[in-house]
Amino acid sequence: MEERTVTHGTFVIERSYAVAPERVFAAFADPAKKRRWFAGGEGSEMEEFEMDFRVGGSERTMRRMGPQTPFPGVALTNDSYYEDIVPNRRVVFAYTMSLGDRRVSASMATVEFVRTEKGTDLIFTDQGAYFEAGDGPKMREGGWSKLLEGLAKELARP
């Protein structure tokens, strides 16, 4: 039997945007806007995007991993359920990510919009359970260089 383990991880991302919380919130609430920032890029082809922005509503995006990823051609599915929505204040959702037919993680995500003099501070908190399944060695093999490359880009910013 293959060994399965769970690792818990939490990360927080804070950003400041020079627009009012109403506009930042709208970018989460309006499917056309959300699609533009949420699901673009990432070296993969988007095949599905559906969202029902209300408490109890769900959202689903499915992308096909591109040739530069460790799993070319494999479907990456993101399923979310909206748990709490307070207009212009916060959005809370639970989401899972699956690679092919295998669940990779389940997370609780909280987005808070804080009105400031300059606009909005966005605080994103992601509390996740990550399931290490049989792809561990492959992730290690394909992931190292990709991870370093990605981190370098992300962390090199001032």
Partner: protein, 121 residues
Amino acid sequence: MSGRARSRHQAAPSRRVNIDRVFHALGDPTRRAIVERLSERPLSVSSLAQPLAITLAAVVQHLQILELSGLVHSEKVGRVRTCRIEAAGLSAAEQWISERRAIWERRFDRLGDLLAEPDEK
């Protein structure tokens, strides 16, 4: 590590500390250069220092941070300290977490681009 991103949670401390340390360790271009070179082959501290335009003492400091994060392992044999990549530094699950964070960082970059456009109303 980016100033706008910080952690403030207590769950699973040992794992989380490790991830935070890894982020911190890789948040420096010199340390990333060291990791990249070591991922090719093990090197002595002095040969690591050679192409880098910094002092040996500075390299040793960077190596200490990398060792604390679990990314690099060093061993002294005689008078030579040899460094190598520690494959166990990041488990697959930890790679997923790091990658997940990077995905959200990129999303919020794109959100910023979208919000910088004039509001169509």
